[in-house]
């Protein structure tokens, strides 16, 4: 592996499919666009991303003095086969100027330590990234060359860590099944994840904006529930969209911050 790495995006659009991890801020700013869920991934001690995951997420103590590092990520919850709703027909981002931090930083990934970033430049199967010497140098001497986006996303992740930790404490307290599910997920060779609802996050963090966010989520969840219906491979996504639609229906009616919108928000289904 050479110390100097090249990279140029060729606008193939292939990285704009499937789950998209977001910062809390980006998730809520895009509540009218993405179906939002929380994805939990657990790492065992000894994994090279353990320290960074523990810093940005939380740790979970298990029996026999074992510990897991757990990352909790607000996520645009899309099946692998589904493009980002902001991906245009020309493979360009239709919200380029306001796109989430995650998309700006691609292909770098501040959830991992900087010294491991070179590995992320290798295009995944089907991706058409240009990593030839003709492309600009993006990584040199174990450091990212143009680092503003990376630093900003890392900073946002560090700042939101206390909120995610509060959420994790709440979930471990009230949803003990999650501990079992994460333990199981971490023992698989292929990293698996567990998904939890926006409603649980809003409750745990006492979010005063819950009603408004719920009203933004309703049409999005309804749309994705419709689009994933009847496909056995997407059954889990479909069920989650439906469940969350029910939860958001309740929240949209109960926590009403602006009375003027109250009549418009009442739905019958």
């Amino acid at each position: 592996m050479s110390a100097t790495r090249h990279f140029q995006c060729t606008i193939c659009g292939q990285c704009c499919y499937g789950l998209l991890p977001l910062t809390c801020k980006d998730a809520f700013a895009n509540a009218a666009r993405f179906p939002l869920g929380f994805v939990w991934t657990a790492l065992r001690q000894g994994s090279k991303d353990y320290a960074m995951t523990a810093t940005l997420g939380t740790t979970l103590t298990l029996a026999h003095r074992k510990e897991l590092a757990v990352m909790i990520t607000p996520t645009a919850y899309l099946p692998k086969s589904f493009p980002c709703p902001a991906l245009g027909d020309d493979n360009r981002c239709s919200i380029h100027l306001n796109k989430p931090s995650r998309c700006r930083t691609m292909p770098f990934y501040p959830y991992r330590d900087e010294r491991y970033q070179a590995e992320l430049l290798k295009p995944r199967l089907g991706w058409a990234c240009d990593t030839s010497t003709a492309a600009p140098v993006v990584f040199k001497d174990h450091q990212i060359v143009l680092r503003d986006d990376f630093d900003q996303e890392r900073q946002a992740l560090l700042e939101q860590a206390p909120v995610l930790r509060r959420y994790a404490d709440y979930m471990f307290k009230y949803s003990p099944w999650l501990v079992g599910a994460l333990t199981q997920a971490s023992s698989q060779t292929k990293t698996r994840s567990v998904v939890t609802s926006l409603s649980s996050f809003l409750t745990a963090t006492r979010n005063a904006d819950a009603g408004r966010l719920a009203r933004l989520q309703l049409p999005v969840l309804n749309d994705y529930a419709t689009r994933t219906g009847g496909d056995a491979q997407l059954a889990e996504f479909h069920q989650n969209y439906r469940n969350w639609f029910q939860e958001m229906t309740y929240l949209s009616q109960r926590l009403d911050a602006s009375p003027t919108c109250a009549d418009a928000s009442v739905r019958s289904d």
């Binding site: 003990p176 099944w177 409603s199 649980s200 409750t203 069920q239 029910q246 309740y250």
Partner: protein, 162 residues
């Protein structure tokens, strides 16, 4: 007309969980646990929220609970053990339900406290969800009612949920 209380007490709903859900303080901690279960069956979650201790009331994810009341088919409650120490209590109980074509049960141990004569939910010490063992009774097996007759000649063959 009498309606059997969903909590499984074999009492009329109107003299069992009904009044407690309507606002009468539960006379015992067991009565409170029963009424909170029945509130899920009856989609009367105001009662569940109201009987959370004040320090955990905002932790109640009502949206999730509302979905659960609509989605689950409730199969029954079994109170396993009640340990009362003055104004605090621990209750071990099993809730059986059907979700996504699966028969499931949760075994929980929850803590309660009596404030000004009102029993309140405080915490869940443990809660485990498990699939229920479903055994099919053969037509010629002894009937599960204990009559000694073959099942086909007695109560019939149905799925028995343990």
């Amino acid at each position: 007309m009498m309606t059997l209380c969903p909590c499984g007490s074999i009492h009329d709903y109107e003299v069992c969980c009904g009044p407690i859900i309507a606002g009468t303080p539960a006379p015992t901690v067991e009565a409170l646990v029963r009424s909170r279960y029945t509130a899920f069956v009856k989609c009367a979650l105001d009662h569940v929220e109201r009987t959370h201790a004040p320090e955990v009331r905002d932790d109640f994810n009502r949206a999730d609970a509302e979905r659960v009341t609509q989605q689950y088919e409730w199969r029954g409650l079994e109170i396993r053990r009640v340990t009362e120490t003055g104004d605090t209590a621990k209750v071990e109980f099993v809730v059986r339900f059907r979700r996504e074509q699966q028969e499931l049960s949760t075994i929980s141990v929850s803590g309660f406290r009596r404030d000004h004569g009102q029993w309140l939910y405080v915490n869940t010490e443990s809660s485990q969800i498990a699939p229920q063992r479903v055994t099919k009774i053969g037509r010629n097996d002894p009937c599960s009612c204990g009559s000694g007759k073959k099942a086909k000649k007695c109560c019939g063959v149905a799925l028995e949920v343990k």
